[in-house]
Subunit: 442 residues, 3 copies
């Protein structure tokens, strides 16, 4: 039997697979009503632990357009969960015979990864806290791909709240992966987080460069623009001075709303940037399409709705054909001429039962039963690890080896030589000793 | 491309279309299970901003009996709307690719009209506050048509809360339109509102006549009955004394529940009229069918449930075939040999950005973004205008012309000569002057 | 026309019908995706007056796997019911044309019976308070039947909260009916209620015997085990000493969670028994499958999840094919070679309008309108009657005859001779006299 494919993160798909899905989505979009035999007899279960009408309806519409059935729990949090059932158990039951695919929305980060470990059918992550929302990212990428007929080398401006927007972070990695350049124009104080920039550098070879964004006019007025670009010669050669790039032709402006429910700052909302016709009049934006993950509030002026460059409603509509392709693929009703990702990030078990994840919103803290703590090594030198569920970096004070029961300095040569499945992380010496470890003898 | 047809108000359908829909509904009702190919591949989105199980299930059942798919948000108010999304944006997204038709329930009056302006697919109004609920009206009318094999000349008693019942108002216009006579037997204090009576007179040529309802016995005991009849000779000739008609043969009694959630009067509920077997024993009611929009509380005694004249449950069941016909028609899967309404009420833009609508529950007050204020002229002499969304009459103190920047008395000859698209309404001189208008020079 | 079949209680199905349904369920389970034409064009309405994701999704999945449509109200209590509509009216409307079958979940005991009286389509009870949940029972029974290839003579251990678990009571009757032996291993204080034991004896001829459960080890440590067995020679011959049976080979352990929402006892939860690998190591349990109605909390250790004897997730998954068989059967799409139950329990009307049911959670107390009070005679000698809806025993002080207007002692010969449809029950003499009855003259 082939292993079950899940879509928890965009990383679960190889780049060639993504492009294959896009080609299929384009075909579906040609006539949304002509595919009602593709998933006949299959059932999708929508399990939403927090409400999200847009995402839910988009998935359910996609499944029905493919001729499949849908069972929905739009308010999971008020039902089974209220009876104290673990997410793992719920998923085991629903994947038993109720459904052939599960779409999961959950407030805890890492919830979809957890679900995928216990499910007998494919799990699609429809948003897990601030962590991932891969189908949204794929829809965004698809819009760029459809509109510009390529992804590599595109110049994409990301504007607004770059700190708290889950959408932005996933999108940024996806852009980097396909070789697009990113111009960050954040609301002041809502810059792209440092760990995102570092991951871009370490995993995607993308370098940030200070950019001269004066040509962008209004939308960059109050921002220190940063240009993130794949470090490849053909890219840099586009610019005369790589140390201070001039942004003079933008392919897309991706605007985001202030995530007030996360930072709760009324003041931010009041001063938040607003994309208007005049802002879009800047010369480099002449052919830039305008994107937005929606819902918007006031950050895009209504006057732009009729602007031919505005694509945010089309972008939302494209969620249906893209999700159709994803569902058909995961349900085994669509074959792609592409190989799955080769080196899947391996998850190592966390020893000693002490949860090292610092993220209080991580599913490892909210769902304590039926969970096997795990981490991934994100870097060997310097030694860095991330929570296997929510991907937050694990703060490492000292490093232990579960066989020698010794602990070592994090950046010591010995630490680097410990086999990953023997690695134990400690906040400090006190914790290490409390857990029965001792300092390494020389 | 043909323009999209919506069903926001019964007025959106020509009378011949309505009768065409009824004929089709009758055919559907013959075997509800035999039509599962009609809307195959189409998707209906149920967007309910306030709960209404009966209406929602009826639409969803109708769509499924036609073989179509359904995506549902039974609690819209707790999801997208909570993120501050405008109704206009929600409709644009859902109508993008999610659905081929939108059924909308919303607490704000005029919401469905607003939605129809932004939708790329047909919008069906499933109730907008106290304003319209056209499919309910069509189901009621259909029951009369099926049971009595005609509509013209029927004598229909409307009993109970005629003031706050949305159902009653729409039904009254529909009856008038098809030439039925209406006998109003209101609970005291809950008479048909004056503006409804005026609209009946002005738009439908229906005149109220004081009726002698003593023959109706119990149900009219505490009421001053009013008889509303189309002013056509063949009608009046039925009665010996047109100034005080005798109601001696009734075709239907339409009972309504007290709308306590609107008038909040516990006392009304306590004394509210109650239709019982003894009330239905009055001679003129011998062949009258009993109708009720449901849910009922105590206003129809349970003993009537088995009375062969009772039709309220059948009436509710008929919601399915009627809605099937409506959905099939709006989705372009049913062709009617009838022309659409010719003179659609034109909506003129409201100038100066001051909202003249006095209805605080109107969507123009609750949904401020993405809304173009508009009004309809309901009468030229006297000059009368209604909010383009909720249909409430606009209080007109003075009338201005947006080109001359002069204001005039409402009933002046000059006022009547202003082109509708130049008309501006003012509460008073102060407001007119504040907005830069001056008195007309003679 | 054949009469409509409902599934309010397992008793509504003959034993041969149940086995026929199991055979069909087994066939469905062979390929869940191959039956999408069976109920094409039929519609199921899910009316849930209290949330239950698992049960609801299971039914909706079953219906969709059969190719039928589904309309759902997952929160009935917040909609029509809020407008004061009676359950009877709601059911009459929904069964009119909206749906071809109703699945009802309701907090009031007896609600499904009430619904079935007013419905024009089959009603399936998906749980009415603590009363019945027949499809759950059938799923449990099906798991035993599939795993052990028979039901008669099986030894089934029921462990945990045997007092408040609706699931357990229904299961116990079903086991007795099919000739299985039951070993009760209750949490202390949560024993099987006396009325259940009595019904087992009176209706199923099942006798309780004190059992020696020492061999069961951990799971019986703190319990006084009771063995309930059909009084047939071939059963007793299995044991050397019928007065104190030795439990030495168990076919299944059925574990239940503490119904804290019913007894509200935090202390119980704290000390509640826990099924672990070590508990399952007892010799008699070697081939016992482990069942649980789910959701579980801590009463089954996660370590058992991978034990080959664990069947609780499979058991839940089997809800789909079993419900498919039930739906297909009730919708007339599956013919069983079996006769319906012959002697349906007759319901007699309660006279005088005084509700004798002592159960405050009975639907006769919560739904006062449109209800015809009724009782069933469960025993003639001694005279015993049960509420026709919730099945609770009616406390009988004195017995009256509605024709003679006399009252009699409950255990008098005269009382036993009164025709059931003339029987009236009184708490005491005072009540009897207040209702116009007098003592019998000799």
């Amino acid at each position: 039997m082939t292993r079950i494919r899940h879509l928890v993160s965009v990383e679960d798909l190889a780049s060639a697979e993504i492009l294959g899905l896009f080609r299929q989505a384009k075909e579906y979009a040609g006539d949304l009503r002509g595919w009602s035999e593709v998933c006949r007899g299959r059932i999708l279960a929508s399990l939403f632990y927090e409400p999200s009408t847009r995402t839910r309806l988009s998935f359910e519409s996609a499944m029905q357009r493919l001729g499949g059935g849908v069972v929905t729990s739009a308010e999971m949090s008020s039902s089974s969960a209220a009876k104290g059932e673990s997410l793992a158990d719920t998923v085991r039951v629903v994947s038993g015979a109720y459904a052939d695919l599960i779409v999961l929305r959950h407030p805890s980060e890492g919830a979809a990864r957890l679900a995928s470990e216990f499910s007998r059918v494919p799990v699609v992550n429809a948003g897990d806290g601030s962590h991932e929302h891969p189908t949204q990212t794929l829809c965004d990428l698809y819009t760029l791909w459809i509109e510009k007929e390529r992804l590599e080398g595109l110049d994409v401006v990301l504007a607004g709240d770059l700190r708290y927007s889950r959408t932005i972070h996933s999108f940024v990695y996806a852009l980097a992966r396909f070789g697009a350049n990113i111009v960050c124009v954040p609301h002041r104080g809502l810059e792209l987080p440092e760990y995102v920039v570092r991951r871009l550098r370490e995993e995607y070879g993308t370098e940030p460069v200070r950019a001269d964004a004066t040509d962008l006019g209004d939308i960059a007025r109050e921002s220190d623009a940063v240009y993130l670009t794949p470090q490849k010669p053909h890219q840099l050669s586009l610019f005369t001075d790589a140390s201070r790039l001039r942004v003079d032709r933008v392919d897309a402006v991706y605007m985001t709303r202030p995530q007030t429910e996360r930072h709760g700052d009324a003041e931010v909302s009041a001063r938040y940037m607003r994309l208007s016709s005049s802002a879009m009049a800047a010369a480099p934006l002449r052919e830039a399409i305008v994107m937005h993950p929606l819902p918007r509030r006031d950050e895009i002026a209504a006057e732009l709705d009729d602007d031919p460059r505005s694509r945010y409603f089309t972008q939302a509509a494209r969620g249906v054909p893209v999700r159709m392709a994803i569902l058909a693929f995961l349900l085994g009703r669509l074959e792609l001429e592409a190989q799955p990702p080769e080196n899947e990030p391996r998850m190592f078990p966390v020893e000693l039962g002490v949860n090292p994840c610092p993220n209080t919103n991580c599913v490892t803290h909210t769902e304590k039963r039926h969970l096997r703590l795990g981490f991934r090594l994100t870097s060997r030198d310097p030694l860095r690890a991330a929570c296997g569920y929510c991907s937050h970096e694990i703060p490492i004070g000292l490093v232990g080896c579960s066989t020698t029961r010794h602990f070592h300095a994090r950046d010591s040569a010995t630490a680097r030589k410990i086999r990953p499945d023997h690695l134990v992380f400690f906040r400090d010496e006190q914790q290490a000793m409390a857990l029965g470890f001792s300092a390494a003898v020389r």
